[in-house]
Amino acid sequence: MARRSCFYRVILLSLFCLLSSFVMTQQQANAQQPTSNSAGTAHNDVVIRGGTILTVTHGRIENGSIYIHNGKIVAVGQNVQAPAGATVIDAAGKWVMPGIIDSHSHIALDDDVNEPTNPITPHMMMKDAFDYDDKMIYRALAGGVTTSLLLHGSANMIGGQAVVIKHKYGLGRDELLFPGAPQSIKFASGENPKRVYGTRNQLPATRMGNFEVMRASFIEAREYMRQWDEYDAKVKKGDKDPTPPKKDLKLEALADILRGKLLVQIHCYRADEFLTEMAMAKEFGYKIRAFHHALEAYKVADKIAANGVAIATWPDWWGFKYEAWDGIPWNAVISLHKGARVALKSDSEDVTRRLNQEAGKIIHYGGISEEDALKMITLNPAWIIGVDDRVGSLDAGKDADITIWNSYPLSSAALVDKVLIDGDVFFDRSLAGLGLTHTKEGQ
């Protein structure tokens, strides 16, 4: 039985890898299973007319239009044709940009963010705790967020596996999961694991201990992988009665990290720790997708960039603990200039509702271009999550995840008027009550 399921999984995975390498490169990762009806509702043709479009990848289009068919963007431009029967959304005098993407969020998880009972819990699956009914999904939606990476907390060096959601508030649980999104795993480092276990007089209580528990668990995972390789070789050789190793969820998850099947997202503040984390990744042969928080990234941004690691940071948080003491509001722009891919994330139930303002602050502090600022809350976080081929810009072929604003979005006073996800309107500020267009009736 074990043999069969493992074999089956290998087939599935290789099939998946084959398919995904055909489609996109980064999808060597495990992926969230697409739901049977990923759209949730039937789509008609939709056309957004007359707004100033911020495409993110190819500049501004004044008085532009976007034609959407079956939830996908078909055309973006000044002269866009759409079928006569298409639903028209009038965006005259408004601003249109892609849905905002939050690459670090803990909403919709109630109190189940940390399993603070062991510093290594890679097998904790966020999907098992995901509270799709949480009002925060709607409040972030009202701030223009269409996709979020819901991560574990930072109590553990390896906290568990995340979920990627689309903010289709009002639909059922599985309809909120981003179909086909790669599986991310959350690592932490520094003060938080030290504090959680150190105050209980347990390992780890120091940064030495932090990295040692990781190293030890990867060595254990390697041994586990070796046992399975040995077993698989026996099977392949035609060994009549091989005994399979015991299946171990935790080691299986660690093995997936070493196999490169998970996007590694690391909570990390200090310059020296970025270097240690990257050395650890090299030692065990996995890749780091992004450093989160990353307040001292500006000190070693060239090295972070050279390793192909992105950063997901706040524009201006600092000083709330000692490892955040050297946080500066120029972190994003210095890291950008040194070649790193930079995203702005919330890590906050509050800030996730106004990430547009956070991007505006980078213009204030860094004097960077509108496009670079916009990328920090759209395309770059999409890359961190591994869905940048699907969302994060207004380009033909992408999911129609679109926000319409009453004024220039990178401003203190800009408000979201409408949010479309996969071509459906999920939030409309002009509606009474919650402004929602989908309800849970019939679920």
Binding site: K135, M136, Y138, R139, A142, G143, E191, Y298, K299, D316, W317, W318, G319, F320, K321, Y322, A324, W325, D326, G327, I328, P329, W330, I334, H337, E349, D350, R353, R354, Q357, E358, G360, K361, I363, H364, Y365, S407, L410, S411, S412, A413, A414, L415, G433, L434, G435
Partner: protein, 441 residues
């Protein structure tokens, strides 16, 4: 334990060393006359002057006017064409100078945790003038602030009003004991564990404890008055029995200026029921009131307007209730202003006090007129705190606390280019700009 302490000590020492590398906010005592020419002046009290002139001399504003306003000879003229010029912003609740590293207890002096009633705590006794946080805050145009103790006690102590520059704490603490927070949000209980419950455990207990404190202060006040009377009456009968004063009680003494309505209490409540209870107590003891927070009390706004009390509104980033629309709290400032309630904004923070103007900007998005938003950061708090003779607008005679920025003061993209405090230009440097300059090469 010793190990732990020594770690803390080293940590604290490192932080202090870094903080002390920044001298306090030096305003140079020069008599240089400064002229800001060509900017868009947001005077707050008498409209907008395009292409205007502001003159500052001896720490004060000596002229505000249109192009052509006389420029004193020998003045340093700064061309601010295309810029916006406005009075320094006032943050109506911060913890500046009471905290350095949030998670490091040894660098925090925000709250005396041992009792709910601690009116005799004075933030000026802890105020750390050399904090790294003040230079970080003021380069975003915040020149004055209330420093308040933490809100974990019903009466956590007394606020001071500061100027974010000066040679020493004495210079920066411009009004000591300016007001007293009275927190009634249900979160001031020391102990919320039923099995080890200690008084006060409920809101009833909190209210009774607070009422008793004011009653005790009234009693103390009467004893003091009786003593004064006896001392001065010179009654022949009592000649051999000298008048004895009541034993001095710092806690009760601290409440007297508030019982005498000499100073305002800053009455914090969020839920409507808490607001009504707290207003009832304030009424019972005839307190002078500034309201604070009111995040979930939108149903009582007309009642609030009828009291005539001003309100520090926010944080508007407070989450709405489950049943409420996403913007239920964001829209509060607009709703209050519409009812004629005098509002002021606060950051309620220390590290992020620099983001004060953006909260007002967001409230503008939700319907607060921009000029009302500017007032809520300048003249309104100046009046509420009784410092409007010196602060809160670009008017002749007021202090030269003036900011120049390259756009709308409330917008996140806007960059502050000059900050003047008492007519002196403040260098736009701090711990963070030094790190920026070190690594941005």
């Amino acid at each position: 334990m010793i190990k732990k302490l020594s770690v803390l000590f080293v940590l604290a020492a490192a932080v202090l060393a870094q903080a002390q590398a920044k001298k306090p906010a030096a305003t140079q005592s020069t008599n240089e006359t400064i002229v800001l020419r060509g900017g868009k002046l947001l005077t707050i009290t008498h409209g907008v002057i395009e292409n205007g002139v502001v003159v500052m001399q001896n720490g004060r504003i000596t002229a505000v006017g249109a192009a052509g306003t006389a420029i004193p000879s020998g003045a340093k003229v700064i061309d601010v064409t295309g810029m916006t010029v406005y009075p320094g912003l006032i943050d109506s609740e911060t913890h500046l100078g009471l905290t350095e590293v949030g998670a490091d207890r040894m660098t925090n002096d925000e709250l005396e945790n041992s009792d709910e009633i601690m009116p005799h705590m004075h933030v000026y006794d802890a105020f750390h003038a050399e904090t790294a946080l003040i230079p970080v805050t003021r380069i975003n145009g915040i020149t004055n602030a209330i420093v308040a103790p933490g809100n974990g006690d019903t009466l956590p102590g007394q606020d001071s009003f500061i100027q974010l520059a000066g040679h020493s704490a004495d210079e920066m603490l411009t009004v000591r004991d300016i007001a007293m927070p009275l927190n009634f949000t249900g979160r001031q209980r020391r102990n919320q564990n039923f099995d080890s419950a200690k008084f006060p455990f409920t809101r009833m207990g909190m209210a009774a404890q607070l009422r008793q404190a004011f009653l005790d202060a009234q009693d103390y006040d009467q004893k003091l008055a009786a003593y004064e009377k006896k001392k001065t009456s010179g009654d022949e009968k009592d000649k051999d029995k000298p008048a004895t004063p009541p034993k001095r009680d710092l806690k009760l003494e601290a409440l007297l200026p508030y019982l005498h309505r000499e100073k305002p209490v800053v009455l914090a409540a969020e839920e409507p029921n808490d607001l009504l209870t707290a207003l009832g107590l304030a009424n019972e003891f005839h307190l002078k009131v500034i309201l604070n927070h009111l995040a979930h009390s939108s149903s009582l706004l007309e009642k609030v307007a009828a009291t005539g009390f001003p309100v520090i509104v926010g944080p508007i980033y407070e989450q709405p209730k489950e049943s409420e629309r996403y913007d239920a709290v964001f829209t509060l400032p607009a709703k209050m202003a519409k009812l004629g309630i005098k509002i002021a904004f606060a950051s309620y923070d220390a590290h992020q006090a620099r983001n004060l103007p953006y909260a007002a900007g967001y409230a503008v998005g939700f319907g607060l007129p921009p000029e009302e938003a500017m007032k809520a950061l300048t003249i309104n708090p100046a009046q509420m705190w009784g410092v409007d003779k010196d602060l809160g607008s670009l008017d002749v005679g007021k202090m030269g606390n003036v900011v120049v920025a390259n756009g709308d003061p409330l917008d996140v993209k806007t960059d502050v280019k000059h900050v003047f405090i008492q007519g002196q230009e403040i260098p736009l440097v701090n711990k963070q700009t030094e790190l920026r300059d070190q690594y941005w090469k």
